[in-house]
């Protein structure tokens, strides 16, 4: 019985007599401000009466306040006039800004002058370089032309020589004559050379075979003539 009564009491505590719950759980608190409390009894209708000061003291303090305020105002005026005077003479911030702008202009002008000097120098240098390159190219062209000219002269000479040689060339007109000449006088290109530079030509072939021809013993290209029969040309 006792235990059950205790339990009942605790449950009443949790749920208040006015039906409100103490939000001890994890629920969010309600929004809104608390109501205005009436002033406490101690404060209400309790007027503090400051004790009256002596009139001499009040007068003295007022005078001192006036003196202090006047001093501060005059000091402000003095500083203001000082700043204004400085500005009028040309020592103010604005004057300094103007001087700065002027200085910057001068520096930029100086820089521009340097740039122009450099540009002029570069132009001169480039002109010089261009001239040198041009002369080098012209020199190369000249040497090339000279070489070509020489080659041309040589070629001319060659052509003239060929033309002069062409009188003895075989043509359709003189073909028969040349063939007969060749048969009469065959040119021999078959020769040997020794260390001294002597050329040993094979003997001229006989035009008409006389007697009985010898039997071929070796290869056809092999010449069966002893070297003592060769025509020596030094």
């Amino acid at each position: 019985m006792l235990r059950s009564a205790r339990i009942l009491v605790t449950s009443e505590n949790l749920i208040g007599g006015n039906g409100q719950t103490r939000n001890l759980g994890r629920r969010q608190p309600k929004q809104g401000k608390p109501p205005i409390l009436p002033p406490a009894k101690k404060v209400l209708y309790h007027v503090v009466h400051a004790p009256w000061q002596k009139p001499e003291d009040v007068e003295e303090l007022l005078w001192r306040r006036h003196v202090y305020n006047n001093a501060v105002t005059s000091m402000r005026d003095v500083f203001k006039s000082e700043l204004e005077q400085k500005a009028s003479v040309g020592l103010g911030i604005d004057a300094m800004k103007e001087a700065e702008a002027k200085e910057l202009d001068e520096l930029i002008a100086e820089n521009e002058r340097k740039n122009q000097e450099k540009a002029a120098a570069r132009m001169a240098r480039e002109n010089q370089d261009t001239k040198a390159t041009k002369s080098a190219i012209l020199e190369e062209i000249r040497s090339e032309l000279e070489k070509k000219n020489e080659m041309k002269k040589l070629a001319e000479k060659e052509v003239l020589a060929a033309i002069s040689r062409s009188q003895h060339f075989v043509t359709k007109d003189n073909l028969e004559v040349k063939i007969l000449e060749a048969l009469e006088k065959p040119t021999i290109y078959d020769f040997a050379i020794d260390r001294q530079g002597n050329k040993y030509f094979v003997p001229e072939p006989v035009k008409y075979q006389e007697g009985t021809p010898t039997l071929q013993k070796g290869r056809f290209s092999r010449i069966e003539v002893p070297i003592s029969h060769y025509n020596v040309v030094i």
Binding site: P34, M96, I108, N111
Partner: protein
């Protein structure tokens, strides 16, 4: 690690960054520099300047746009775009990197006059009633007679936001 060899790590130290001489005026908005990566001896100064002083420029001029033109033109140049629309051109041919630095600092850098003016302006701007990291005091709690910050002295419970007068209501 190849990045840690040679002069590469040296020029990125904080101390080296602080040694930069070029502090542009407030009128300079954009600064561009053209250089060649494989330069002739006349053009080498601009390349060296970029290698040695570009990080310093960035460090000292955080509000200036810095542009590099790599291998765009033959002659190395620098061009600054000013606030009033003017353009200042520098011819950097035949200049060493020290000379380039000196030229830029002299022409577009802050001179003695500018620094003096800025110092005076900062003094004039200073208001003892302001609070913050850039002012004389950080917080009102530093003023004598004011309530100190709660980090220094615990506030009464009724002043803190955690305190509730009626637990039933909220």
């Amino acid at each position: 690690m190849p990045f840690m060899h040679g002069s590469m790590p040296l020029r990125r130290t904080f101390f080296y960054l602080q040694q930069g001489k070029i502090k542009f005026r407030d009128t300079v908005h954009v600064f561009s520099l053209g250089f060649n990566r494989n330069p002739t001896p006349e053009q080498a100064g601009a390349r060296d300047f970029v290698y040695w002083h570009w990080a310093q420029l960035q460090y000292h001029n955080p509000k200036v746009q810095l542009v590099k033109h790599v291998d765009k033109v033959i002659t190395p140049f620098a061009r600054a775009y000013l606030e009033d629309g003017r353009e200042v051109l520098f011819d950097l041919e035949n200049l060493k990197r020290e000379e380039i630095e000196e030229t830029l600092a002299k022409t577009l850098g802050k001179t003695e006059l500018v620094e003096r003016r800025e110092r005076l302006e900062s003094i004039a701007k200073l208001n003892p009633a302001d609070f913050g990291s850039k002012n004389e005091r950080q917080c009102i709690c530093e003023v004598q007679g004011q309530h100190p910050c709660t980090s220094l002295l615990r506030a009464p419970k009724c002043v803190t936001g955690k305190w509730r007068w009626n637990h039933n209501l909220i």
